[in-house]
Amino acid sequence: MRTLRYQRPEGVEAAVSAVNATPGARYLGGGTNLVDLMKLGVETPDLLVDVSGLPHHDIEELPGGGVRIGAAVRNSDLAADPLVRTRYPVVSQALLAGASDQLRNVATVGGNLLQRTRCLYFQDAGKPCNKRAPGTGCPAIEGVHRNLAILGASPHCVATHPSDLAVALAALDAQVLVEGGTGPREIPLTELHRLPGDRPERDTVLEHGDLITHVRLPAAPEAVNSAYRKARDRASFAFALSSVGAALEVRDGLVHRVRLALGGVAPKPWRARAAEERLRGAPATPEAFTRAVEAELSVAEPLRDNAFKVPLTRHLAVRVLCDLAGRAGGPR
């Protein structure tokens, strides 16, 4: 019989060294993803290091206008935080568009960013899957994949990253603060998650033992005018088929600052840099928004059953930008 050990250290150092010393160890946030995967036999840790005892429960205003969020902050607390709601509404909206009240009450910021894909094959320990069992193949390419990637995938894996929060954070150039035992370091959120390439088993650039301690949101005045929208199979309590997080500042009818990220369409939160590039200085019109988003999506490579995500994402992104520009409606 397998035994599973559980620890709840109160210091970062103890937590990190415990995980570093045990190859089969995992950090445990709210457990809403990890424990599910353990039940499915996808994760089989022999040590759980609970991070809820670590001093990462605060949301602090930083000098200069940014905000630092502890990795153990619960999703519901982050969504309700007045500072976040006024300065970065996209973050609050992304969280509230995800999961359910009950899940958000336990899910943590760190766990949310590192949750695993909802690809059905990944969750079925009896099936091949390059992400779960490297080298076994990717049945999703021929199989059930309507919810999977149209951007950034590889012939080895077409999974999507399911986090809504991460999409908002990607748009805001958030920094992820990590402690791995050799001193703290910062990783831009847009570089935290990897594209699969030929190593789909590695979701992120983190090494075993790396602990997320905080997320830092830099000052972004345009984020006051930001929003998150999501399309899914039912009105609540479901993952994104496609989602958009955006912030926009318009001056004299021209796009002055813009941030755009897409979710549910790629193996990582997809920062739409090509679209942003085209938009800077462009007229803030539905036509310009459409052209920019189309440019971003021109590299999309849909699978047999998920081509609908291309128009869906285009419509969604254009709508959000129009909304933020104060213009009603998108082009029909």
Binding site: M1, K39, L40, Q93, L96, A97, R118, L120, D124, G126, K127, P139, G143, V144, R146, A227, Y228, R229, K230, A231, R232, D233, R234, A235, S236, F237, A238, L241, P302, D305, N306, A307, F308, V310, P311, L312, H315, L316, R319, C322, D323, A328, G329, G330, R332
Partner: protein
């Protein structure tokens, strides 16, 4: 032995006779979380059972080695096909399902071996150490692979009574319904519309997983506490498998967390009993959520092809239909599903020329069987879609076209059976059509949000997806017909035992039936009936068990009719006995005893005029009246195998819906704003429960329309066995549901009532889809309709 019992022995004092909204005796317990479900059962010293299931949908079992599993500490027994003591197969109607697979597995998740251990996790891990060698076989997954030349025959050497008349051994049952001269009718038709339709596989999605506790008894028998829909049919199947006489197999209903058909077949019953008898210890089995999704039957997915011919002024001239249902690996209730689909395949309309055939296939897909509205649901989606197409073709209003062709009392079914009770189809349609439409763009007017709009009222709900840009409204209608009770000559009955005595001066009625309370509210209605007929406030419901005669199944909308009827009849006999005793003992004390029309009220015998003659305490003294009687509905007859003619059904039930949707086609989002229903219930025994059933059925139909589907892929495997991946409507997906209830008595039924549970599930799906079609102009031939069907690619 300590056994944690589910409190099904519910006592209720108080109010609420027939026709009143008495509250549920189990309501508070359920809402406060105190109700014990079957998964809460517990016995001292009990072991936990676990099922090893096939990873393949079709394979030969080459070898099974249990050595390693048996050596796991804590394991008490491992059973395979070779260990079965007696009958090796069971089945609701056709015993084609192995208790544990022998030479071959026919679906993904089929039980292959069992383990009993002192901890559920030990049992699970030991099961993983059973070595089974499989040799995969070619798959049969649809009509073409099932009937192709050289197709593997899934059940060779069939001896069931459909075997001789099916066109192919991979067809479970085939039922044509033919009436009228098709060639002549075709010549008369001025307008013809044809269409092909498809329904995905819906799951009953009961919240309570399959569970039960089997306790071996000193007499060599077994007591099984279980969540099921029909105790006695479980016992009929269990006794031969256990090699025991029926009397030694005793079942008691435990708390049932939803059923909807999923508990009509055996799941863990035989397995737990076998393990208990083998180990001599109580054995509990509880399926996990993903196991539950493969551990019960689903709604038959279907492909339907229809052709409707009509005159220019909209009268149906002929209807042809072909309904192919995928029954999966075992028969389950496929024959009844086929019978319903064929005989109700025209819908609630009048048409003299009908040529409909329905069939169910054997395939290697997950077995399909009973689910709310079975057979009639699939047909209704297709015939109602056709009525809309016909209306469009004729340039007619879809409601008027339906009303023009609507059946009414006196009509003849395509089976030749006369409709000899009210059939207010046109009136139900009128009721839903005449309701004022909900105001448009309600997200702008919703109060209390402070933001100027209410996300919850928008397509996409809390996903914050749209602000109402490009949202288009559509309205759709549908009406359906469902049979009530067991049809086609089945000897369908229920039994009730009623005991009346006086305890501490207060008369008390005990009602004892084997009816499975699965949430439908039968327990409430039984108490209401007893109160009404016996005029007694205190009614105690005995736990449902096999010590009393069969109640039949809690399915086919039949329990209020059947067990309600049985309770009523037995109560009337008890009342007669009270009056006989009263006349005998007190007849001289008052001339009123000699009069007709005596009845019981407020614990006393009263005259027709309401004068009290005596208290029940005076009449009964220490005597107890305890009677058990069966109740039958009127007989039916089998449908003719060639043309489907026959007096096949007991009663029909009708419901109509109007769906109002708002669709954002660019984003593929549908918001059902309102789903209005009108249903004839004959008699609203408990008005609140009636509305509850109509609401529940409507939402289950909505789920099929826009989200619910078991994904079967990658070699006939269930791919979404969880509530994260199999989506059912949340409260935010649930619309406002105004309900009109008609009470037109059916003189053949107790109290004139009609079974109501299933009818609302039928028309809800096509009404929602019709509304989406109206909003988008898309053809939408398949349910569920998903975002990708609206956005296009």
């Amino acid at each position: 032995m300590d056994i944690l019992r589910t409190p099904t022995d519910l006592a209720q004092r108080g109010h609420g006779g027939v026709g009143e909204s008495a509250s549920r005796p189990d309501g508070v317990l359920k809402v406060t979380g105190e109700f014990a479900y079957a998964s809460d059962l517990w016995a001292r010293d009990m072991l936990w059972g676990h099922t090893l299931r096939s990873p393949h949908a079709h394979a030969e079992i080459v070898s099974v080695d249990t050595t390693e599993a048996l050596s796991v500490p804590g394991v008490h027994a491992v059973l395979t096909h070779a260990d079965l003591p007696a009958a090796t197969h069971y089945g609701l109607e056709i015993p084609d399902q192995p208790v544990l697979a022998g030479d071959v597995v026919r679906y993904h998740g089929e039980p292959v071996a069992l383990v009993a251990a002192d901890h559920p996790e030990t049992a699970r891990r030991a099961a993983a150490r059973i070595r089974v060698e499989y040799a995969e076989l070619p798959l049969v997954t649809d009509e073409s692979t099932a009937t192709a030349p050289g197709a593997p025959v899934l059940h060779p050497n069939r001896s069931d009574h459909y075997a001789d008349r099916v066109p192919h051994p991979n067809v479970v049952h085939h039922q044509p319904v033919r009436r009228g001269d098709l060639a002549a009718a075709k010549a008369r038709a001025e307008v013809v519309v044809t269409g092909e339709y498809e329904l995905g596989m819906q799951d009953q999605a009961p919240l309570g997983p399959e569970s039960g506790l089997a306790v071996p008894a000193e007499d060599g028998g077994v007591d099984l506490y279980v969540a099921t829909q029909w105790l006695h049919v479980d016992r009929e199947q269990l006794a031969p498998v256990l090699g025991l006489p029926r009397e030694l197999v005793r079942l008691t209903l435990s708390g049932v967390g939803g059923a909807f058909g999923a508990r009509e077949d055996l799941s863990m019953q035989a397995h737990a009993c076998l393990l208990a008898l083998r180990t001599g210890r109580p054995v509990k089995m509880v399926y996990s959520r993903d196991e539950s999704f493969v551990g019960h039957v689903h709604r038959h997915p279907a492909r339907l092809r229809y052709e409707h011919g009509a005159t220019r002024d909209g009268r149906l001239v002929y209807v042809r239909g072909r309904i192919v249902l995928d029954g999966g690996a075992y028969a389950s209730s496929s024959p009844a599903v086929v019978g319903n689909a064929a005989s109700l395949g025209l819908g609630p309309y009048v048409c003299d020329t009908v040529d409909i055939e329905a069939l169910a296939l054997y395939t290697n897909n997950p077995p399909c069987g009973a689910m709310r509205g079975f057979g009639a649901v699939q047909a209704c989606f297709a015939y109602e879609s056709q009525m809309d197409r016909l209306a469009a073709e004729l340039g007619m209003d879809p409601v008027s076209l339906r009303q023009l062709n609507a059946m009414s009392q006196g009509a003849t079914m395509p089976t030749g059976q006369p409709v000899d009770a009210p059939a207010p189809v046109a009136e139900l349609l009128r009721l839903v059509r005449d309701r004022p439409l909900p105001p448009p763009r309600q997200w702008e007017t919703a109060v209390g949000t402070g933001t100027g709009f209410d996300l919850r009222a928008l397509p996409g709900g809390l996903s914050n997806t749209t602000r109402g840009e490009g949202v288009v409204r559509g309205v759709g209608y549908a009406v359906g017909i469902k049979n009530v009770g067991f049809s086609e000559g089945y000897d369908d009955y229920s039994t009730a035992r009623v005991r009346l005595e006086v305890v501490n001066g207060e008369p008390v009625v005990l009602v004892h039936t084997a009816m499975a309370e699965v949430g439908q509210g039968g327990v409430t209605v039984q108490a209401q009936i007893a109160r009404t007929e016996l005029g007694v406030a205190k009614v105690v419901l005995h736990p449902a068990d096999t010590r009393v005669g069969s109640a039949g199944s809690t399915s086919a909308s039949r329990q209020t009719y059947m067990t309600g009827g049985a309770v009523r009849n037995t109560c009337l006999l008890v009342r007669e006995e009270v009056l006989r005793l009263g006349r005998e003992r007190l007849g001289d004390t008052h001339p009123g005893w000699r009069g007709d029309g005596l009845w019981l009220r407020d614990g006393a015998v009263v005259t027709a005029g309401g004068e009290v003659l005596a208290d029940l305490a005076q009449v009964l003294g220490d005597d107890v009246i305890d009677l058990e009687r069966e109740f039958r509905h009127r007989p039916t007859e089998p449908l003719d195998p060639e043309n489907g003619q026959g007096f096949g059904h007991v009663q029909y039930s009708f419901c109509a819906h109007r769906a109002v949707v708002e669709v954002d086609a660019e984003l593929g989002l549908v918001k059902v704003v309102e789903l209005a229903a009108a249903q004839d219930v004959g008699r609203a025994m408990n008005p609140q429960a009636v509305v509850g059933q109509i609401h529940g059925g409507s939402v289950q139909g909505l789920g099929l329309a826009v989200m619910e589907e078991i994904v079967v892929a990658d070699g006939a495997r269930v791919r979404n066995p969880s509530f994260t991946d199999y989506l059912i409507p949340t409260i935010l997906d649930t619309p406002t549901m105004p309900v009109d209830v008609l009470e037109l008595a059916d003189e053949h039924a107790p109290y004139g009532l009609r079974g109501i549970g299933e009818a609302p599930t039928l028309s809800s799906t096509p009404a929602v889809v019709a509304a989406i079609r109206a909003a988008t102009g898309l053809a939408l031939r398949r349910v569920p309709v998903r975002p990708e069907h609206l956005t296009g690619t």
